[in-house]
Structures are given as structure tokens and as C-alpha cells.
């Protein structure tokens, strides 16, 4: 069964919450325009942890979603990640 699609604000909150857990920072301190590497000091491993966490969260909501590994290197910022998830769910 496919769950209700998420709005952009919900996706942004999801990305910030999960990223906050992984990087051990307050989600509210993460800005949409932040670069993973330059602003958040998040390396490639943190990005994989984020992707896994988003996939699991969405699967718990019965949303069939998967991020292609080939697309990972295009995700440079929080905004990139939110846009990517939005477009795939749209």
C-alpha cells in the first residue's frame, strides 16, 4: 500500500531531523541552504547514513522510496536532498 505523499515542508523537517541525529546537532541549527560538506562538516559516510535513515522512515510510512547510489554525489546541500526526495515522491 502506498502512503500519503509528503509535502515539501515535511520532507525538509525529516531531512533536518535525521541529519541532526547523525551529526549530533540541533535540527533547528540546520538551514535549508547549508552545504553538507562546507557548512555541516558531513562526509560521504554521513550522507549514506542520511539516505538509509530517510528510506527507512518513508518505508515505515508505507511509501516505497529509494535513492539511487549514482545520484548521491549530486546531493551537495540540504536543499538538494529535499528537492530530490520531493521530485521522486511527486
Amino acid at each position: 500500500m502506498q502512503g500519503d505523499p509528503l509535502g515539501r515542508d515535511e520532507i525538509l523537517k525529516l531531512v533536518k531531523d535525521r541529519l541532526g541525529e547523525i551529526l549530533e546537532v540541533e535540527p533547528s541549527s540546520i538551514q535549508e541552504g547549508d552545504s553538507f560538506r562546507d557548512d555541516l562538516d558531513a562526509d560521504s559516510l554521513a550522507l549514506i547514513e542520511l539516505v538509509e535513515a530517510i528510506e527507512e522512515e518513508l518505508s515505515e510510512r508505507s511509501i516505497d522510496f529509494r535513492i539511487d547510489d549514482e545520484d548521491l554525489e549530486d546531493l551537495k546541500s540540504v536543499r538538494d536532498a529535499v528537492d530530490y526526495v520531493s521530485s521522486r515522491l511527486g
Binding site: L45, E49, E52
Partner: protein, 332 residues
């Protein structure tokens, strides 16, 4: 459920001798009263009736890229083993399969202890004339490290030495190319400065003894040797290769003449304890330190004895709350 009654999840499909030798090792553990959950392909484990099983349709090969394999093979025995720990079905996990994939599945499914920057692989190195081995970390998880990570490896290594080998105040050395503080790469020099501070030593009840060299890996005056994953892996494999070559050469000499054979048979009773000390099967495996659940990696060539020892160690560390002890030290 009483956590002590939870099983150790055993990846039945990992290793050169899987699944038969892994299953034999699991059976030894069950005979010893340790609960086990065998995770593997139905073709391999569906006939097992005396051990609880969990089916997985995929297997991650020894040469597969770890992160990619863990992300793509969601129904692999390794990923399912890690999920069993995450979901509270198992206390701990062990695998003799792909080390990188074991680390990736444990990291992505079970997760890091809060405050741990990077988990590390801690490998026991036998010490001649002493019952307890030295601990080498990181022996391969992180090819590139920063100095702060090495301090955290030292803290985790000290807690592990105390929990697993009852070492009261573990002596910790930093692997370098000379004993003097100024020797080594920029990473080693910076790490030395940080390791020389008292705070972390007090926190983990360890003692930094300065730089140590490659020749000190089996030195009985050290308990924990800290290095980056690249250097640690090279050091470990060098030691393994050297030991194998020497043992091979000795066996050749022992069979080179009737006199040598006779001499070898006379020496055999004295050599056996030495063999026992050096035998990797006696130790059972390396641990992934920094994961929120005990996760052990056995050597790819593990036989039943090594698997039994890994299961037994994983069970005991879990019951003794090793992860909680790490959390207490790492918590800032």
C-alpha cells in the same frame, strides 16, 4: 524478555567455510548454553532443527563493495543479522564474511554510539608469554583519520581491554616510526599532543605510554595500540604474513630429514601451548567498537572453534554491558 535469554545473531553465510563450519560453531555455542539465532539462506539452514533460524535470500560476497552491497542487498544474511540486533531480537551479531560490509551493516542498521565519530575495528594480537593479547585499533575501518578520532579509538580500546581482558589500567601506545614524541606523520604528531593530555586518560582509566613501533605489536608491556585504519591494516597483514611464512618454513625444516622429524616430535609437547597462543581460532575475532550493539568479525577462514569463541565473546560482552560502558566514557 530477559535480555540474557536473547540470542547472538550468527551470519551463517559469511566466510570461506560457510555455511557448514559456521553452523558447527553455532552448535558448539548452543551446547555450551549460549542462545544463538542462525541467519542465512533457506537452502543452507532450513534443515537445522535445534537452533532458531531467520531466513535471508541474499548473500554478500567477500569482494563486494561494502556500502553498495549493504544498500542493495536488503535481504542479505549480514543485513538481517544487524537488523535482528537493532530490532531487539538478538543481543549481538557475528560474521566471518566481508569485514567492510559487516561494519557498514552494523553502522547503518544498529547505529553509532552517541558521541562516536567513527567506529573502529579492534583486533587482538597474541602476546607470547602472556595470556591476554594486545589490542590493535583501528585495523581497517577508516583508511583516513583525524587526530581526534585516534583519541577516541584509544578511549574505546581502553574500555574494551578492561571489559574483555580485565586489564586494570590499560597501557596505550601510539603506533609510529620512533619512540620520540616528534617522530611520525603530521597525523601521529598531532595525535600525540592530544593523547598526552590527562582528561581522556582519567575518563577511561587508561595510561598513555607514548609512541610505540611496529616491532612492539606483540610487546607484553603494552595493552592497546592505536593507529589509523590504513596503517593498522598494513601492520596486521604484515604480521599475519610473516607468521605464516615462519610457520611454513619451520614445518619444512621439521620434515626435511628423519632426524628433524624425530626432533620435532620431541619438541611437539612444548610447542603446543605456543601454537595455542598464536592460533587465531583461539581468539575468535575482532570487534567493531563504537556500534550500539556488540558486533564481531571473525577471520574469513574461521572454523567452528573460532566461531564458537566469537559467539561466546559477543555474548559475554553483551551480558557484561560493554556497550553501556563505552557510552559512559564517550558521553561528553
Amino acid at each position: 524478555m530477559n535480555p540474557n535469554s536473547l540470542p547472538v545473531a550468527v551470519d551463517a553465510m559469511g566466510g570461506d567455510n560457510a555455511p557448514s563450519e559456521i553452523i558447527k560453531g553455532a552448535e558448539l555455542a548452543v551446547e555450551a548454553g549460549i542462545p544463538v539465532l542462525l541467519v542465512g539462506h533457506p537452502d543452507a539452514i532450513s534443515d537445522i532443527s535445534d537452533i532458531p533460524t531467520k531466513f535471508a535470500s541474499e548473500v554478500i560476497g567477500m569482494s563486494e563493495d561494502p556500502a553498495t552491497a549493504v544498500r542493495k542487498k536488503k535481504d542479505s544474511s549480514l543485513v538481517r543479522s544487524a537488523e535482528a540486533v537493532r530490532d531487539g531480537e538478538a543481543l549481538a551479531m557475528i560474521s566471518a564474511g566481508n569485514t567492510g560490509a559487516t561494519m557498514a551493516s552494523a553502522l547503518l542498521k544498529i547505529g553509532r554510539i552517541r558521541g562516536v565519530s567513527r567506529p573502529a575495528i579492534a583486533t587482538p594480537i597474541p602476546v607470547l608469554g602472556r595470556a591476554n593479547p594486545n589490542i590493535l585499533l583501528d585495523s581497517g575501518a577508516n583508511a583516513e583519520c583525524n587526530p581526534e578520532w585516534l583519541v577516541q579509538f584509544a578511549e574505546m580500546g581502553a574500555v574494551y581491554a578492561r571489559d574483555r581482558f580485565s586489564t586494570d589500567k590499560p597501557k596505550i601506545g601510539l603506533l609510529s616510526i620512533g619512540e620520540e614524541p616528534g617522530k611520525g606523520s603530521p597525523l601521529v604528531k598531532e595525535a600525540f599532543e592530544l593523547l598526552d593530555e590527562q582528561d581522556w586518560q582519567v575518563r577511561c582509566s587508561g595510561e598513555f605510554i607514548g609512541n610505540v613501533e611496529g616491532r612492539d605489536l606483540m610487546n607484553p608491556d603494552i595493552d592497546v595500540i592505536v593507529t589509523d585504519g590504513f596503517t593498522g591494516n598494513v601492520a596486521l597483514k604484515t604480521l599475519e604474513g610473516t607468521a605464516k611464512a615462519i610457520v611454513g618454513a619451520l614445518l619444512d625444516v621439521f620434515s626435511s630429514s628423519p632426524e628433524a622429524k624425530e626432533g620435532a616430535s620431541l619438541l611437539a609437547p612444548s610447542l603446543l601451548p605456543l601454537y595455542e597462543t598464536l592460533d587465531p581460532e583461539s581468539v575468535g575475532g575482532a570487534i567493531l567498537l563504537g556500534i550500539k550493539g556488540v558486533s564481531m568479525v571473525s577471520h574469513g577462514s574461521s572454523g567452528p572453534k573460532a566461531i564458537f569463541n566469537a559467539i561466546s565473546t559477543a555474548y559475554e560482552l553483551s551480558i557484561d554491558k560493554h556497550v553501556e560502558h563505552l557510552e559512559q566514557v564517550i558521553k561528553r
